[in-house]
Symmetry: C2
Subunit: 388 residues, 2 copies
């Protein structure tokens, strides 16, 4: 597929901001204060790799009415000026004695006080990307405003993706599917996990990926015992099972799925475990539709793994949201209970220990549609692929 | 150069922890609580790309005596067990109603109370990677312990690099120098900024890089007006100046430097600006030695840029520390005043606007030695390189 257009039309930022302002009024919030890359980007369109530097804080205020206000380091003022944000207040950062704090106090203090509450993400899956001492000082300095948690407001806005967002995720998924499908012809016994990942990273860049911020590998005879630590220098041998899991990006949006490969051959128990997670994934995909909950998905998938002899699942969930982050709310767990809506993008990711020290994890990415779901990744082979 | 051995011998973690514990006693801290990837990795050796997922918090406690204690999601327990950390307490994350908090309260509460103070990074250039609501609850729940800022303690430990750390940074610098030197033969007029970066990303992977978490590009006729937003789809033309700046990693350690390239030819003012930043860089490198301060470096470099007609510098500094992060403490500013010590790794990064909307930035990475400094990157050409 051709690479989607980069960025978003201004109307998209207007809609995101209006939806936020609607929810803010309902939640009795006079403004939102955002500090992390995905949240600042969501409302402003400011898209820069510079967040990799933890030195400087960046702030975006969503007021009760009108466009967001940026309170940012001078180094970012030119870039922010190319977004739809008009009110940009910059300071010569880094300035340890006052790294934007007085500017931020002033900008928030100017917001009309209707409820006396400013929304900040304080809850699960969030953090504040600013010095904790500055956060304390900020609300001590803000006359007439108290802090209120806006975690739920933000995640409910971001969880439903626009068509343009879905296209970007779809493209990341498609080129990653291309790369995974080409891998068995390019990687062979005698290569290390690291070499396999290096090949795939380079292949995905050539196919149009921006980067692969996440690419792990694990392998072992007939199974692997971990899915977050590699790749290592372990050399792939006949009888090994290899998993590669990647979060690869296009224009700030992630895919997140894995693929398993057997080298030479696979033991019967390994092939059966693959079939079980494949089947559980299919059940999840087939069940996913508006109104079904994440817990319904978990409860439908788990019995298939249990019947196949699952000893447990250390991942803690069997799928999650994704988009501007590798993982986003919600989680597919027995008690999460989030109702699926049209436009949500999620992973279906059943996994289990099928023998002591042997895991099998499978994953696809889907978007919820009016009458079901649509695959964004290309479905993995129904039988464990074998590298000759 | 051959790729350095991955990881560190256990003695390195013992030394880091002992140095920390020494400083903790002096600062009257009974324990440190760490929440971010570089800090957890520094003391434990736990090195995983899984931090890309913001869902789950990870905690490491450095007690007054003995090895660190890990309070982490179950998905990471197997990986943490391969480090020198022995006391690993895991919970089935994500668990929104108690995502490790009760385990963390218990583990911290067990620490012997001598001073009644637990060190947490609260200061400049830091943030807490945990839900802010949980942080508040944590210290409300901890009888007899108050929170104290340990920003300075942590940065003074991490700023001096071991030989093994320096080797990893050196390798990242050397392969990136290789890539930059090969670029003029591989990139040509008619390519876009994005294509130039894609070529360099793939080249650096082939040379042994793990990834390039940071790679920006900017270009324009005779100059660029920004150094943090690209790469974009702008096509490189005769007369353009291109900058690429990259933080490329090997085994968790960054290089961070840039290179400038003229296409076809460069205006006189552009060549003169290049010579000025080159010269300022040389002055910085030549001056850097133990006892000299970051402010001495700034004050020595700036007059060269001013004489060359500098209109200003929006970067906010002319260099900084680097290592496990793209940017680390300290900053080269007029009033930072940090005294250089043997083993510090820093960038020398003079930059200026040499005409309205035209920037020129130069950068090298050095390590402070007994009697001066040693280049980790290979020195850029003294004259602006021209892509034919």
């Amino acid at each position: 597929m051709p690479a989607p257009i980069r960025g978003f039309p201004q109307a998209e930022f207007e809609q995101r901001t209006e939806r936020a302002q609607h929810a803010m009024a309902a939640a009795q919030l006079d403004a939102l204060l955002l500090t992390t890359e995905p949240n600042v980007r969501y409302f402003s369109g400011f898209h820069s790799q510079f967040w990799e530097s933890p030195t400087r804080p960046w702030y975006l205020i969503v007021p009760a009415e009108g466009r967001p206000i940026a309170v940012i380091p001078e180094i970012g003022a030119a870039g922010m000026a190319r977004t739809w944000v008009e009110d940009i207040r910059a300071w010569p950062a880094p300035r340890p004695e006052d790294d934007g704090l007085s500017l931020l106090v002033k900008a928030l203090g100017e917001q009309p006080r209707r409820f006396g509450r400013i929304g900040v993400t304080l809850g699960h899956e969030t953090h504040l990307r600013m010095p904790a001492a500055d956060f304390r000082t900020l609300f001590e300095s803000l006359d007439g405003f108290e802090v209120a948690d806006c975690t739920d407001l933000i995640r409910r806005l971001r969880v439903v993706k626009s068509e343009a967002e879905i296209e970007k995720i779809h493209f990341a998924c498609q080129i990653t599917s291309d790369g995974f499908e080409a891998l068995p012809a390019a990687v062979k016994t005698g290569d290390s996990e690291r070499e396999a990942c290096r090949w795939l990273r380079r292949d995905l860049l050539a196919r149009g990926a921006d980067n692969s911020p996440y690419m792990i590998a694990a392998s072992g005879p007939g199974g692997y015992d971990d899915i977050i630590m590699g790749p290592g220098d372990r050399v792939l041998e006949q009888g090994d099972l290899l998993i590669i899991d990647t979060g690869t990006t296009y224009d700030g949006y992630f895919c997140d799925f894995d693929r398993n490969f057997a080298f030479g051959s696979a033991p019967e128990e390994t092939r059966r475990a693959y079939e079980a997670v494949y089947q559980a994934t299919q059940v999840g995909i087939d069940l996913a539709r508006p109104g079904v909950t994440t817990s319904d998905l978990w409860l439908a998938m788990w019995p298939i793994l249990e019947t196949a002899g699952a000893l447990g699942n250390d991942v803690g969930r069997m799928g999650h949201g994704l988009g501007a982050q590798l993982t986003e709310w919600p989680s597919i767990t027995p008690d999460d209970g989030t109702r699926l809506e049209v436009g949500m993008v999620i992973t279906i990711e059943p996994g289990m220990a099928f023998a002591p020290g042997k895991l099998m994890v499978h994953e696809e990415n889907i978007v919820i549609t009016e009458d079901g779901s649509r695959l964004l990744s290309r479905r993995a082979p129904a039988e464990l692929p074998v590298v000759a």
